[in-house]
Symmetry: C2
Subunit: 144 residues, 2 copies
Amino acid sequence: MDTDAKYMLEALKEAHVAAAEDEVPIGAVVVCRGKVIAKGHNMTERLHDPTAHAEMIAITAACEAMGGKYLNDCSLYVTVEPCPMCAAAMNWAQLGRLVYGASDPKRGYSLFSPSLLHPKTEVVSGVDSEECSKTVSDYFKAKR
Amino acid sequence: MDTDAKYMLEALKEAHVAAAEDEVPIGAVVVCRGKVIAKGHNMTERLHDPTAHAEMIAITAACEAMGGKYLNDCSLYVTVEPCPMCAAAMNWAQLGRLVYGASDPKRGYSLFSPSLLHPKTEVVSGVDSEECSKTVSDYFKAKR
């Protein structure tokens, strides 16, 4: 298994934690020099907080771990394409690399403007996208 | 003094608290039915957290005060035009009304897309903009 697939599996584990807590199952991890330094999953329902997306939680935790507000040397893995809020947060953090699984044709940042991200952030999409997408669709099917 | 000017003064007080803590001086308050329910000021340096903008802190605190993740009946006052991250957070919160002071021609959300905000959010700009702008420029002058 390649490195991106390996870390995406970690992000998927976080997504399943969210599902178990009855949250829309999206998960994220931040990796720096071969080490997972932060994890997050969607907690908007539990915290009654619309800003508590997996990526926001992971960015805040990663900055805490790094002791600074920049993540130039880090990769963030997230199961679903970030929304504009999360993409703009990655811009402020000057994230080195963004890897996401499924695209989000309704709420993804790329619908608005790719320039929401920092110009230096490398982007890789479609890693394990079927599993990432299925995790979300299974959740909504079960809710019906 | 009209209502918007009155609450913008409260947001300016928050900006001055930020300046005293050596943070870029931006402040925000959230008002619901004539009552300030949340306040926030920029804390990105102290928390080493690029997401700790005045508006994000105020939105999270307002949702906690309301016990829910929507702010339809609320107005958010902020001294400077929100960035895309904060505008998109207001979208998720379905904010009723956004009132800001100074425009931000470098980082303001309107540079990217006005549709980062929720379509139902009413926007008022330019309230006490000179004082809001001066608060930021005085801070950077003193830093030089």
